[in-house]
């Protein structure tokens, strides 16, 4: 009965005893501001897909909105899962991602020579997208068990290095150079922030140039063609350089204020290739001008920085690395896609998250945001001490 006399104790007990109430508290801890930003970006996607279809909700905008609704529910659900559960699940997720990557090599469908997918129950699954999330989770789990002292021991870095290299190798074999580079980048950023020593980093970075040279020798012809047309797009205006030139024309014709919603000539007249997927940002820039495009970039920056702040704010190592990895993943998506449409890097099938049309990418992104929000919800949970080791 003493518990009842102390309202705070009572409150705490009630929190433990009453699962539904605990759920409500967690729901309250979700950063709804961040969710609002996600919804805003998805809204941009809906509006642009509506225009890409020529001013009608089908076939792009409406299915995309439905997927987003599903994704939103998935995200909120994942956000409330406790980190311990996630840590335990991460190994399974990682194993599953490797199986899927191996499966896609054998029976995957190839689209446009790059991105491969599997058909599972009528759903397109892109294992490489899922593999990024799984990698973030498994690396975070691994590093969360390591304190600063352990990080100094190179032996402890060998297993996670393999965790990165195996999916990178599998994705390269697909072959999807862009995604492989992104997976490698995410892995590297996690190694870096987990507390790798500087001498280790220098030792790793030094042989990189020769590695790149070696890799270029093993590139496929179409990948080499992408790089050469990127360097000289005007040599082949109707062939491989067409996408880059048309994209730049559309961007440039948008000007400061744009040609007006539903009135972007390049997009509406189909000059723009893959305008509803990879080149959707070009449509935004053409119809809304620099003002609109810059607003979208600002929105993306807010989402990236928000994730990073969540990472820094997190009290447990696992959450920090998860949040950083997911933010990095999102950042790489945006960076590669935007650079591609502006003709800054060779074209590769990387969509603009939440805006581009596509179900698999949407679900993966929402899964990632779910994990991110989960670290925020459990930002004060102490996990590291429970390892039995305290620094």
């Amino acid at each position: 009965m003493t518990a009842l006399n102390n309202p705070i104790r009572f409150h705490k007990r009630l929190l433990r005893a009453e699962p539904s109430f605990r759920l409500m508290a967690k729901l309250w801890r979700i950063s709804w501001l961040y969710v609002l930003l996600i919804c805003a970006l998805a809204g941009v996607g809906y509006v642009t897909l509506y225009s890409a279809a020529g001013g009608v909700p089908y076939p792009f905008a409406a299915p995309q909105a439905a997927r987003f609704a599903v994704g939103l529910v998935l995200m909120v659900t994942i956000a409330m899962l406790p980190p311990r559960l996630l840590m335990r699940a991460s190994w399974g997720m990682y194993a599953l991602s490797l199986v899927l990557l191996a499966a896609v090599l054998h029976m995957g469908h190839v689209g446009k020579g790059a991105e491969r997918w599997l058909m599972i129950g009528g759903l397109q699954v892109q294992p490489s997208e899922f593999a990024k999330i799984a990698l973030v989770a498994v690396l975070a789990t691994w590093f969360s068990r390591m304190d600063y002292a352990r990080m100094g021991n190179p032996l402890w870095l060998i297993p996670p290095a393999f965790m990165v290299l195996v999916p990178v190798g599998l994705v390269l074999k697909e072959p999807n150079l862009g995604t492989a580079v992104i997976i490698g980048g995410i892995g590297a950023s996690l190694f870096f922030t987990a507390g790798m020593r500087l001498w280790q980093i220098i030792l790793l970075v030094l042989p990189l140039p020769s590695l790149v040279q070696f890799a270029y020798g093993h590139l496929h012809d179409y990948q080499k063609a992408r790089i050469t047309t990127f360097l000289h797009p005007e040599n082949d205006p109707l062939g491989a350089g067409y996408n880059i030139i048309q994209s730049k024309i559309a961007l440039g014709s948008g000007g400061m204020w744009g040609q007006g919603y539903l009135h972007g000539s390049q997009g509406q007249l189909n000059f723009l290739p893959e305008k509803q997927t990879d080149f959707i940002f070009t449509m935004i820039a053409e119809e809304w001008g620099f003002i609109g495009a810059a607003t979208v970039i600002a929105l993306l920056v807010l989402l990236i920085m928000g994730g990073m702040i969540m990472a820094i704010r997190c009290r447990n190592r696992f959450g920090r690395l998860i949040a950083l990895g997911i933010s990095m993943n999102f950042f790489f998506y945006c960076l590669v896609n935007l650079s591609m449409v502006m003709g800054a890097i060779p074209v590769g099938g990387v969509p603009l998250p939440l805006v581009s049309y596509g179900g698999s990418a949407m679900l993966n992104v929402m899964l990632g945001f779910g994990l991110l929000l989960s670290t925020w919800v459990h930002r004060d949970t102490r996990l590291d001490e429970s390892n039995g080791r305290t620094a």
Binding site: G255, A294, M308, L324, F331
Partner: protein, 640 residues
């Protein structure tokens, strides 16, 4: 305790370091570094975007406009050609064509095959269709057959369900309602050749035609008009999305000719099947009221392409149907040249109208005998009698006295042997020979050359149009130029007014002497052309006959007494010529007639010229703005 922790946390909203975990500090520092890299990368992208959209915006906007706007030219309708009363002589008619839209049929070859069972396609059509199919995009229609008749269209429409993708549309074709009647004047059009297209983008448009003869060729630029254009928004594969801007072309200008179609028809009727040409001029202003050259051809055959056999037939025909003899046929003027020689003599001051020359039937110069057409001679003749009898010796003599240069100078001023301003292509200048011309061709000019020139023989060559011009100038004393253009788009040419034409500066009394001589030819007893007398009350005409030898008549043949040119083969007979003007007291119309190998001007050409003049006077086109009723023309038939 829980509350206490909350309070500490609230103080430090952003705990970034942890006493128990040194890795957290490292993480925070390195995460901040990552954020800086991210912010830098996104900032760089925004800067690049600004560069593309704002700095290079104009450049890309221009490229975008080129990307989406496709400009196509529209062929303007060709200008009409009408006669002086507005009757259409060259017109545009709808040309129904069957087109195939390849993308609208699943089986292109099958559709063409079924189409050919309804409308036969020959080998040439099939090859052309196959070629166009290869070169064009699938949504650009391919022409299957044009010039469809009503019947053929009905057959296509009836079988439309089995002919997917086949559609009928309308273009224009050039039609000549009067056909052969005006073929030489109007000319014809044909599809442009590669050379034409290279010089004018307008001609590259489908359906454009180029004038290849007559007014169609001479006034081609005016008749063509200006192309319209239509700007269309197209998508990346070139399909038309919408029409942005349409600018209709300016149709070619409507050209009104000076020709009186009804008179032209009457003249043609009078000529019948003779190989001849006739020109009717308005003496006051040089308007060509009729200009006929026989035989003629059907100009509409050229629009769709003339068959090889037809072409061979035309070019090998010794009656030269494709040549407009009125402007491109050159003939020795014969005795019709005598008034010009007379004028040259009078103007020189060496001869007065009353000076007499004795004609014994021949003239001996330097051992050569030049015969008069009358073996017995005309005795002593002055200018008036010399013209009336057409005495050769008189003109031999005065030509000898004044010399060739004076004759040529006067003849040129009267319109003979010089280029005229007629609006027709392929005209010939003819020739009035001079010693200088002869020497330029490295020959010696003999005295005899001057003497035969005095009667319009020898090297002299003139066209029927020049003869008519010469007659009109004699009749009015004005330097009129023959012309066919009366108005453009209804605006009357200044050439229609007599004041436009300057005086010839020939003394009126001399002109009067020539006219009186020509009056005598027709109306006085023993004149050479009594058959040319008009039967119209109060109206008389003046004229001059001419017979032009095309072959030298040998002295032996002439002296045998059996010479009769009517017995010669057609192509060796002399040409028959006649020039005349009427009314004599107030000249208004001038007519020249040349009948190829018609033998004697007095017998063949004079009656024809009279009939033409009679019709002209009855219709009086120069004083009417509407065509006379048909009954006027009908009177003529009773007169024959």
């Amino acid at each position: 305790m829980w509350l206490k922790r909350r309070k500490r946390e609230n103080r430090r909203l952003m705990p970034i370091r942890d006493q128990k975990d040194p890795a957290r500090g490292v993480f925070t520092r390195r995460a901040l570094l990552c954020m800086a890299v991210q912010a830098g990368a996104m900032g760089e992208l925004a800067r690049r975007l600004y560069h593309i959209q704002i700095n290079d915006g104009d450049h890309y906007a221009r490229m975008a406009a080129n990307n989406r706007v496709s400009k196509r030219l529209l062929a303007p309708p060709r200008g009409r050609i009408v006669d002086r009363y507005g009757i259409a002589l060259a017109n545009n008619k709808e040309n129904w064509r069957a087109l195939l839209m390849p993308e609208e049929t699943t089986d292109v070859a099958g559709t063409i095959e079924r189409f050919s069972t309804l409308i036969p396609l020959d080998e040439r059509d099939r090859n052309r269709i196959a070629r166009e199919m290869r070169h064009q995009r699938r949504f650009v229609p391919v022409m299957l057959r044009d010039f469809l008749s009503w019947d053929e269209m009905a057959r296509i429409e009836l079988n439309a369900p089995s002919l997917p993708g086949v559609l009928i549309d309308v273009g224009t074709r050039r039609v000549y309602p009067e056909g052969e009647l005006l073929a030489h004047i109007i000319g014809y059009v044909a599809p442009p050749n590669e050379n034409d297209v290279a010089h004018s983008t307008l001609l590259a448009l489908p359906g454009m035609r180029v004038g290849r003869a007559g007014i169609e060729q001479n006034q081609d630029e005016k008749l063509r008009g200006t192309a319209g254009s239509v700007e269309m928004e197209v998508n990346a594969v070139g399909r038309v999305i919408s029409e942005l801007n349409r600018e209709e072309g300016v149709p070619g200008e409507e050209i009104s000719l000076t020709i009186d179609r009804g008179l032209q028809q009457r003249v043609l009727n009078h000529i019948g099947d003779q190989t001849a040409s006739a020109v009717v001029l308005d003496c006051h202003n040089g308007e060509v009221l009729a200009m006929v050259s026989t035989p003629s051809f059907d100009p509409s055959l050229f629009d769709s392409g003339v068959s090889h056999a037809q072409w061979i037939e035309w070019t090998n025909n010794q009656h030269t149907p494709l040549i407009n003899k009125a402007v491109a046929g050159v003939y020795p003027p014969g005795s019709t040249f005598k008034p010009a020689v007379a004028m040259a003599a009078l103007e020189s001051g060496l001869i007065s109208p009353t000076d007499r020359v004795f004609c014994p039937g021949h003239l001996d110069v330097g051992g050569t005998r030049f015969h008069c057409w009358s073996r017995w001679g005309h005795g002593s003749v002055d200018l008036h009698l010399a013209l009336k009898y057409s005495c050769d010796v008189y003109f031999y003599e005065i030509a000898r006295r004044i010399g060739m240069d004076r004759i040529a100078e006067t003849a040129h001023r009267m319109g003979l042997g010089v280029p005229l301003d007629i609006e027709l292509p392929h005209t010939r200048t003819g020739l009035i020979p001079t010693p200088a011309w002869r020497q330029a061709h490295h020959h010696h000019w003999n005295g005899g050359d001057t003497i035969v020139s005095g009667i319009g023989q020898g090297f002299i060559q003139v066209t029927p149009l020049q003869l008519a011009t010469y007659t009109a100038r004699m009749a009015t004393g004005r330097a009129v130029q023959p012309h066919l253009m009366r108005a453009i788009n209804g605006e009357i040419s200044p050439m229609a007014s007599p004041e436009h034409w300057p005086s010839l500066n020939m003394p009126e009394k001399y002109l009067e002497a020539l006219r009186a001589g020509m009056f005598a030819v027709v109306n006085e007893p023993h004149g050479t052309a009594p058959k040319a007398q008009l039967d119209l009350p109060g109206i008389t005409m003046a004229g001059k006959t001419g017979s032009a030898q095309v072959r030298h008549v040998s002295r032996a043949l002439r002296e045998s007494g059996h010479f009769n040119s009517a017995n010669l083969p057609w192509e060796y007979r002399p040409h028959a010529l006649f020039i005349c003007f009427a009314p004599y007291d107030a000249p208004r119309y001038a007519v020249s007639v040349v009948i190829e190998h018609g033998n004697a001007g007095a017998d063949a050409a004079a009656p024809l010229a009279r009939n033409i003049m009679r019709d002209t006077l009855l219709r009086d086109p120069s004083n009417h703005t509407t065509p006379p009723p048909e009954s006027v023309a009908a009177v003529d038939d009773s007169f024959e």
